[in-house]
C-alpha cells in the first residue's frame, strides 16, 4: 500500500509543473494586455502604459516572468490581483466557500437521487421506469447548462415565484461573513428567516449544477448494480432466503458503489467546470464567476493562480479517491 501511495505522489509533482506551465502559457496566448483592456476605446498614454506594465512586472521577457512566477509560488506567494490589488489567496479564500457550498449541495442532490434512480432502474430492468431514467439521464447529460438554468429561472422564479432569481440570500438580510458558508452564517447571525431564505436560494443552482453528475451517477449506478446482481454471491444470498432489501442494499449496493465512488471523484472536476457557468447564471459569488471576470480583465495572477488552485484541488481529490479505491479494492493497488 505504501509503495502505491508513493507512486501516486510521484505523479503529482510533474502534474503540478505541467499545470503551472499550461495556465501561464494559456492566459498569455490570448491576445490583449490588461492596461489596454482597462482603458477600452480610450487612448493609453505610452508613458503610462510602460509604467503600468513595469509595476505589473509584465515588461520582462516571458521566460523571466515564468521563473518569477515559479519563484513566487515557491515562497508561498500567490501574487495580487491586477484589478483589485487584493491578494489572490485572500480572494480565493473568501470566494471558495460559496463554491464548496454549491458543489456539496449539487453533489448531495445528484448522489441521493442518482443512486436511488439507478438502483430502482436496475431492479426493474426493461420497465417503463428504467427506460424513463435512461432517457432522462441522457437528456440531462446533454443539456446546455446555461439554457437549463435560465429555463428554470423563468419557470420557477419569475413564473411561479417559488424560488429567488439569483444570489445567495435576500440582500436585505445583512449577514456578516464568518465561515463563508451562507447556511452556517445565517444560523450564527440570529436573523429570523435568513436560513430558510438562504436555503431557497440554493435550490435552483444546486439542481442546475447537479444535473450532469446526476445523469452520470444514475447511469453508473444502474450498470454497476446490474453487474453485481448477476454475480454468484447475490444468487447465493437469494438462495439462502435473505430478504430482497437485504440482498439489494447490503450485498448488492455496497459492492456496486465502488465504481460509483470513482465516478464521484471524477465528477469534482466537472462540478467545478459547471460551477463557472452556474455561478454566472445565478450571480453566485464563487470562484467560477471570479475566474470568468478575471479572464475578461486579463487579470493574469488571478487566472493563473486561480486555475492552479482549482487544478491542485482536483488532483488532490482524485488522489484521495484513488487511495480510497485502493483501500476498498486490493486488486487495484497491486497493478503496475
Amino acid at each position: 500500500m505504501l509503495s502505491f501511495i508513493a507512486r501516486r505522489l510521484g505523479l503529482l509533482i510533474p502534474t503540478f509543473f505541467g499545470v503551472t506551465l499550461l495556465t501561464f502559457a494559456l492566459i498569455r496566448l490570448i491576445p490583449g494586455d490588461p492596461v489596454e483592456v482597462m482603458m477600452g476605446e480610450r487612448r493609453v498614454d505610452p508613458e503610462m502604459h510602460a509604467q503600468a506594465m513595469e509595476r505589473l512586472g509584465l515588461n520582462k521577457p516571458l521566460y523571466q516572468q515564468y521563473f518569477d512566477y515559479i519563484g513566487q509560488l515557491a515562497s508561498g506567494n500567490l501574487g495580487e490581483s491586477l484589478r483589485s490589488r487584493e491578494s489572490v489567496w485572500r480572494e480565493f479564500l473568501t470566494l471558495f466557500p460559496a463554491t464548496v457550498e454549491l458543489a456539496l449541495a449539487a453533489l448531495l442532490f445528484a448522489g441521493t437521487l442518482g443512486v436511488i434512480a439507478g438502483v430502482v432502474a436496475a431492479l426493474k430492468r426493461g420497465s417503463l421506469f428504467d427506460h424513463g431514467v435512461m432517457g432522462i439521464s441522457l437528456t440531462g447529460y446533454s443539456m446546455p447548462i446555461f439554457w437549463w438554468g435560465l429555463l428554470l429561472i423563468m419557470f420557477f422564479s419569475v413564473g411561479l415565484g417559488w424560488t429567488p432569481v439569483s444570489g445567495r440570500i435576500d440582500l436585505l438580510y445583512d449577514i456578516p461573513p464568518v465561515t463563508g458558508f451562507m447556511l452556517i452564517d445565517t444560523l450564527l447571525s440570529d436573523e429570523p428567516g435568513a436560513f430558510g431564505n438562504a436555503l431557497r436560494h440554493l435550490i435552483l443552482p444546486a439542481i442546475v449544477l447537479g444535473t450532469i453528475p446526476l445523469a452520470v451517477i444514475a447511469r453508473m449506478t444502474r450498470s454497476a448494480m446490474l453487474e453485481v446482481l448477476r454475480e454468484d454471491y447475490i444468487r447465493t444470498a437469494r438462495a439462502k432466503g435473505l430478504s430482497q432489501a437485504r440482498v439489494v442494499f447490503v450485498h448488492g449496493l455496497r459492492n456496486a458503489l465502488i465504481p460509483v465512488l470513482t465516478v464521484f471523484g471524477l465528477q469534482i472536476g466537472s462540478l467545478l467546470a459547471g460551477a463557472v457557468l452556474t455561478e454566472t447564471i445565478f450571480s453566485w459569488p464563487g470562484i467560477g464567476k471570479w475566474l470568468i471576470e478575471s479572464i475578461g480583465a486579463r487579470d493574469y495572477p488571478v487566472v493563473q493562480n486561480g486555475i492552479l488552485l482549482i487544478a491542485c484541488l482536483v488532483i488532490l481529490v482524485n488522489f484521495t479517491v484513488d487511495i480510497l479505491y485502493g483501500l476498498a479494492n486490493p486488486r487495484i493497488r497491486h497493478q503496475k
Binding site: 490583449g32 483589485s84 432569481v165 439569483s166 440582500l171 436585505l172 438580510y173 436560513f195 459569488p285
Partner: protein, 529 residues
C-alpha cells in the same frame, strides 16, 4: 433557547424579514468594481460603485444633465487670461465617520491639495507608499496642463494652468476627480496601510461605505450628516452584483431589485409590459460610427469615402442592429451636445451615385478592403458583428468587397491605434459634456495616435477646434464648432451611424431617478417607498 435553535425554528416559519421603518433600495449592478479609489479607474462600473455614492467633487454634473454645477466648491473665478481658476470651498462639509476612520475636522483646502497632488506628482509620499496610476487624469491631459495647485487659505484653492482649457471645470466634475480626505490618508500612511484607500474608502458623498463582498454585494448607509440632507432619502443602499443582463431583468421583475441598467433589446418588451415597472428612455449621449483610415489607399481619396458613406443603408441598420432603440446619426457628436449644428444634412442613400464616384476615383470593381468589427457589446453599438455584415452587403452593391476582421477587445484597440485597419467600427460615449470631447478628442490632429481612428489630420478643421478650445466664451466657441462640423461632413473621415437610446428599467416605487447622459447611476435624491 440558544440563538441557533431559535434561528432553526424560525427559519421555516418566516420567509422574509420585515423592514418596516428603514427605506432600502437594491440596485442590480453589472459587475464588481476594481476598487473604491475612483482616480485609479476608468469604467462606469467602478464610478457608480464609489464615485457617485461615497465621494463628491469640486464641481458636479447636474443630475440628468451635462452642466457642471457647484458641489464641494460653491463658486469659482477664472482669471482674465483663462489660466488661473480660484475655487471657493463649501463650509461645514463632514467626511464620513466609519469603524476605520473618525474625522476630527471638516473638509478644507488640504483635502483638495492631497487629492490633486497625489495625481500630479509621481514622487508624492502617498504614491510612493502605494504605487498607482491615474489613467483618466492622464488621458485628459490634466497631468500636463495643471502647472500647480495651491491654497490661499483654508477655504480657497487656486489651480494654475499651462494652457487655456475651456472645459477645465467640466473635467474636474468628472468621476475620477473624487476628493479624498487628507486626514484619512495621513492616518493610513502612518499605519503603513496606504493601499487601503482603495478598499476602505472615506468620502463626503451621500452614502457611507459599509461592506463589500466581491462578486456579490456592496452595502452603503445613507449619510446622515450629508451637506445637502434633502438628497439622501435612502437608509440602506445595496448594490447586488449580477453580470448577466437577462438575470438582472428577471430580478427586477421578481422585485428582488428596484433599479437596474443596460437591459438587452430582447428583454425590453417584457419589461415595458410589466405594470410594476417604469422604463423611461433618453437619447444616448454616444455615437457609433465607421472610421476610414485615410492614411491608406483608397481611403486617402475623399470621393471614395463619400461613395462608401452614401452606400450605407443606415435605416436598415438602426432597425436590425439597434432593434429600433437608436437614433440615426448625422454629425460627429450627439444632438444633445451644445453647439451641434442642426442644419447639416446626411448625404442621401444613393448606391448609383456612389458607383460613379468610385469609377471617377479610379477604384476598380471588386476592390478588397478590411472592415473591423468589435468583439464586444458597447453602449453605442449592441452588435458590431451584425452591423459589419450589413455594411459588407451594402458595399458589395457598389463593387467593394469588405472582409470582416475581429480581434479580442484589447488587441482590437491596440492594432487600431497602430492603424492596421482600412475601415473600422468604433464609437464614443461623452465624458464631460464639452464639444471638444467629441470634435477635438476624436477627429483632431493631436489625437492621430490616440482616439482619432481615421488618422485624419486636416489643417482647416484642426485650426477651428484648437481655436475653440482656447476661447472661453460659449457663443464664440459654438460658432467655431459649427464650422468644424461642416468641414467634418464635407471631408467624410467617418460615417456616423447611430446614437443608441438608453433604457432605464426600475420598479414604479422608485422616485426621483434621473437618467445621466454619461450613463452614470446616481442615487442621491432618489427615494423608494
Amino acid at each position: 433557547m440558544s440563538p441557533l435553535c431559535k434561528a432553526l425554528l424560525t427559519a421555516g416559519l418566516l420567509t422574509s424579514a420585515s423592514f418596516a421603518h428603514a427605506s432600502n433600495l437594491v440596485y442590480c449592478s453589472e459587475g464588481s468594481p476594481g476598487g473604491f479609489d475612483p482616480g485609479q479607474y476608468t469604467t462606469g462600473t467602478d464610478f457608480d460603485a464609489a464615485s457617485e455614492t461615497i465621494f463628491n467633487r469640486l464641481a458636479e454634473f447636474e443630475r440628468g444633465g451635462t452642466k457642471a454645477q457647484p458641489a464641494l466648491a460653491t463658486s469659482w473665478d477664472v482669471s482674465e487670461d483663462g489660466l488661473t481658476y480660484t475655487f471657493h470651498l463649501r463650509e461645514g462639509v463632514k467626511f464620513h465617520t466609519t469603524d476605520y476612520f473618525k474625522p476630527t475636522r471638516d473638509f478644507n483646502a488640504d483635502d483638495v491639495l492631497f487629492t490633486y497632488q497625489r495625481m500630479l506628482d509621481r514622487n508624492h509620499p502617498f504614491r510612493q507608499a502605494y504605487p498607482s496610476e491615474f489613467p483618466y487624469f492622464t488621458d485628459m491631459g490634466l497631468d500636463k496642463n495643471i502647472a500647480k495647485v495651491e491654497k490661499t487659505d483654508d477655504m480657497t484653492v487656486v489651480f494654475t494652468l499651462n494652457a487655456v482649457d475651456a472645459a477645465f471645470v467640466q473635467n474636474l466634475a468628472m468621476n475620477f476627480a473624487a476628493i479624498h480626505s487628507a486626514e484619512y490618508a495621513d492616518q493610513l500612511l502612518k499605519a503603513g496601510k496606504a493601499a487601503e484607500i482603495n478598499q476602505k474608502p472615506v468620502g463626503t458623498g451621500p452614502f457611507v461605505f459599509s461592506r463589500y463582498q466581491k462578486d456579490a454585494v456592496i452595502r452603503f448607509k445613507g449619510n446622515t450628516q450629508y451637506w445637502a440632507p434633502e438628497q439622501v432619502k435612502i437608509d440602506n443602499l445595496i448594490f447586488s452584483i449580477n453580470t448577466d443582463a437577462s438575470v438582472r431583468a428577471q430580478k427586477l421583475r421578481a422585485g428582488e431589485c428596484h433599479v437596474t441598467l443596460n437591459p438587452r433589446p430582447a428583454d425590453l418588451q417584457s419589461l415595458q409590459a410589466d405594470k410594476n415597472l417604469n422604463v423611461p428612455t433618453e437619447p444616448g449621449y454616444n455615437l457609433g460610427y465607421i472610421a476610414y483610415n485615410v492614411t491608406r489607399a483608397p481611403f486617402d481619396k475623399r470621393e471614395v469615402r463619400q461613395a462608401l458613406d452614401m452606400a450605407v443603408n443606415k435605416t436598415a441598420i438602426i432597425d436590425a442592429v439597434y432593434q429600433g432603440a437608436g437614433q440615426l446619426a448625422v454629425n460627429g457628436m450627439p444632438p444633445t451636445q451644445w453647439s451641434y449644428d442642426e442644419s447639416i444634412k446626411d448625404a442621401a442613400y444613393d448606391p448609383e451615385k456612389a458607383k460613379e464616384l468610385l469609377k471617377a476615383a479610379g477604384v476598380k470593381e471588386g476592390t478588397e478592403i478590411t472592415l473591423w468589427a468589435m468583439p464586444v457589446q458597447r453602449p453605442y453599438n449592441p452588435n458590431a458583428r451584425l452591423m459589419a455584415e450589413m455594411l459588407q452587403n451594402d458595399w458589395a452593391k457598389i463593387g467593394i468587397k469588405a472582409r470582416i476582421v475581429s480581434y479580442e477587445w484589447g488587441e482590437y484597440i491596440k492594432r487600431a491605434h497602430a492603424g492596421e485597419h482600412d475601415a473600422m467600427l468604433i464609437g464614443w460615449t461623452g465624458d464631460n459634456g464639452d464639444p471638444d470631447n467629441w470634435l477635438g478628442t476624436l477627429y483632431g490632429c493631436a489625437s492621430v495616435d490616440g482616439n482619432n481612428f481615421s488618422k485624419w489630420c486636416d489643417a482647416e478643421y484642426d485650426k477651428l477646434v484648437v481655436a475653440a478650445k482656447r476661447v472661453t466664451e460659449q457663443e464664440q466657441r459654438s460658432e467655431l464648432y459649427r464650422q468644424a462640423q461642416a468641414v467634418l461632413k464635407r471631408e467624410v473621415p467617418i460615417t456616423p451611424i447611430a446614437h443608441s437610446t438608453v433604457y432605464q428599467p426600475m420598479r414604479s416605487s422608485v422616485k426621483g431617478f434621473e437618467i445621466s447622459p454619461f450613463g452614470r447611476n446616481s442615487f442621491s435624491g432618489v427615494s423608494n417607498n
